[in-house]
């Protein structure tokens, strides 16, 4: 059982929580994730990236978007309540060293896992360019924290409600076109964004790391549900990743695999909204 120590709603459906998890807080490194389960009998196990950790307090911070049944139920939990299972830290940590200039691109909720990487890269002496993108203004998260770390900060929204009206790939291409070009790129966000970021940097030959968030059960290499094709080889995101060379990842296959249970997930999600409405109505009539 892991107690919820803090809960903040960052935007419409994005939440930040601090969970009591002393071992994970001590061991985790940038790039790693946890698997979380709300109900040990019938719940599902979902991977969530670790946005931050406080070893002194013994806590880890997760940021998640309420998109399915489990994340909705998690969002409904309050401080003082507990999560039944949190396993981690899982996956290989980010390879951090002094590369020179690193351009870090975060899309939507992807800014959360990007944050500790930016922190690590900065601490290693890199010059940091941060590009943050979101659909619209109120979906931009962790702007201040990122601004504080960045030597150069670019924000863009799809609808132009904040910063540049552009997709993140636009400023990314510009940055890659500079002389000298950046030494490294890190892109984390929706699969489609990571795919196009990798395509954007490819012609410039800027090495690009992406962090994949696939379907998982155990997170320890046992099930293979998370497997992806990287450079023609099968890799397990949970133990070989989650970070891979974005120029080698077969994104089409990965995106198709993410949809494997879409029908059942949509059903569960609709059901969960219906349940919430019924609950609200019941409370209203009381």
């Amino acid at each position: 059982m892991n107690k919820i120590l803090a809960r903040t709603q960052l935007s419409d459906d994005v939440y930040m929580m601090r969970l009591d998890a002393p071992y994970i807080a001590r061991e985790r490194l940038p790039g790693q994730f946890v698997i979380l389960q709300l109900d040990n009998e019938f719940g599902e196990r979902i991977p969530l990236t670790i946005a931050d950790a406080d070893p002194a307090e013994g806590s880890v911070t997760i940021i998640f978007q309420a998109v399915g049944k489990t994340t909705h139920n998690l969002a409904d939990k309050r401080v003082g309540e507990s999560v039944q299972s949190v396993l981690g830290p899982l996956g290989q940590p980010t390879h951090i060293e002094k590369f020179g200039t690193v351009v870090c691109v975060g899309g939507g909720i992807g800014v959360a896992p990007l944050h500790p990487i930016v922190k690590g890269m900065k601490a290693a002496g890199n010059r940091i360019i941060v590009i943050v993108g979101a659909r619209t203004r109120n979906l931009v998260i962790m702007e201040e924290q990122m601004r504080a770390l960045a030597d150069e900060f670019i924000v863009c929204t799809d609808d132009g409600s904040y910063g540049r009206k552009a997709l993140v790939t636009e400023p990314l291409k510009e940055v890659c076109g500079r002389i000298p070009k950046p030494d490294m790129a890190v892109a984390i966000g929706p699969p489609i964004m990571m795919k196009f970021c990798a395509e954007a940097t490819r012609p410039f030959g800027v090495p690009t790391v992406v962090s994949l968030n696939t379907i998982m059960i155990d997170g320890t290499g046992m099930c293979g549900g998370c497997r992806v094709t990287v450079g023609g080889q099968t890799k397990f995101v949970c133990v070989d990743g989650p970070e891979f060379d974005g120029h080698k990842v077969d994104f089409e296959n990965m995106m198709q695999r993410l949809k494997a249970y879409r029908k059942q997930e949509d059903h569960a999600h609709t059901q969960c909204h219906l349940d919430a409405e019924i609950r609200a109505k019941e409370q209203g009539t009381r």
């Binding site: 061991e27 299972s85 899982l90 155990d218 290499g221 046992m222 293979g224 494997a260 997930e265």
Partner: protein, 495 residues
Amino acid sequence: MSHSTPETLAVLARQELEGLLKRDTPLTPKERIAITAQEMPTQDPEVRRRNVQEVALGYTPEQARLESMRCLQCRNAPCVQGCPVRIDIPGFLKAAAEGDFQGACNVIKKNSLLPAVCGRVCPQETQCQEHCTVGKALKSVDKAVSIGRVERYVADLERETGGGAAPTVKPATGKKVAVIGTGPASITVAADVRREGHEVVMFEAFHKPGGVLVYGIPEFRLPKAIVQKEIDTLTGMGVQLQTNFVIGRTRKLKALIEEDGFDAVFIGTGAGLPKFMNIEGENLVGVFSANEYLTRANLMKAYDFGRADTPIYRSGRVAVLGGGNVAMDAARTAVRLGAGEVHVIYRRTEIEMPARIEEIAHAKEEGVIFHLLENAKRLIGDENGCVKAIECLRYELGEPDSSGRRRPVEIKGSEFIRDIDAVIVAIGNDSNPLIPRTTEGLQTTKWGNVIVDDTGKTSLDRVYAGGDIVLGAATVILAMGEGRRAAASINERLK
């Protein structure tokens, strides 16, 4: 195979036993051999293919006694030679034949900790029962004394009647042992080490203990309540259980010894790395490792469509690649999840299949279709990246290979296509690499199995290992035997 109802089997057994008990002279070996071999009562195939309850229902007391009476009490006990943990088989059968079922159970428990589990999942026909004189006399291993079924009966009876003394624990020694994993090898080590009075902490990565007994072997073959009971016995003895804790990640193995004060560590993390065929299309949607498919169905309870949050792929025509027990488990699980057709594809013939005869027979009864001397060459996807067909090749048997089995040889140009909408790959597991990768100095074979000496000790001081992480994918009873050996060494080391 025709299905006899449990009621019929019970009546016949009662009548036969009554007849035998009326006699006042001891049975001759000939008469013992003439006793009807007792069939295991099972759920009707048509009913069970729509539920997840246990298929084999277990003997009646009369059946258990009759089956035990078939034992000739051979002085050289060839059956014991076939048992990896050397259970006194004639001894427990003698007690059971006399109706002393608790006595029989006590005999087994001297050597085996998990009789209810092993009675169900041991491959007896290639172990104890293979060497049985009765089977030899009747010229069929199927006619050997059903040692495992009697074992299961006496263990179930003990559990259901609350019999059997709780294992005694010696006074606290102040020593502390970490057991990594909670499968059969680890359960054995935990019990044997705890009995000596050492503190024991078990670490499990999943949210529930039991390892392969809960995530892999389906409910219809091994009810989870039985595994839970074994775990309860351990916690009742004072063994501590730490779930959601993956050694190598949550805590490094060496930290257990160097910082957390553990005096010894046992690694029993099993063979949890699924092998794939490395053929085209293997990462298409609808292609699963048997581990994934079974874990969703078993541990995550995906069969319970209304209640479980974990989804499972619903499919019409499923292909299962492989011929072992895991392949049978996956195929039979697919049947229960409502697949229209389930096809097992195996490149040798039924004789070479590693699956237990009983499992193959059960699968056939449930409608699983077997395609022998056939193998997948590539998987074909539709426009959405979902698997829609499998291209197979036909095989023939050639000369025997190093395993002694005749080598399957592909027939050139024999490719053909089968339409399917899901594929489950069940061609085995390698050892889980998480601990070797995160533990400096821990020596492994090139296949990733942890190397141990003949006491179960690894290349690191105070670190022991056993079960599938050492053996590669094997059986529950072998894992238990390995656990026994390592526990004895740990207890010796901590003296």
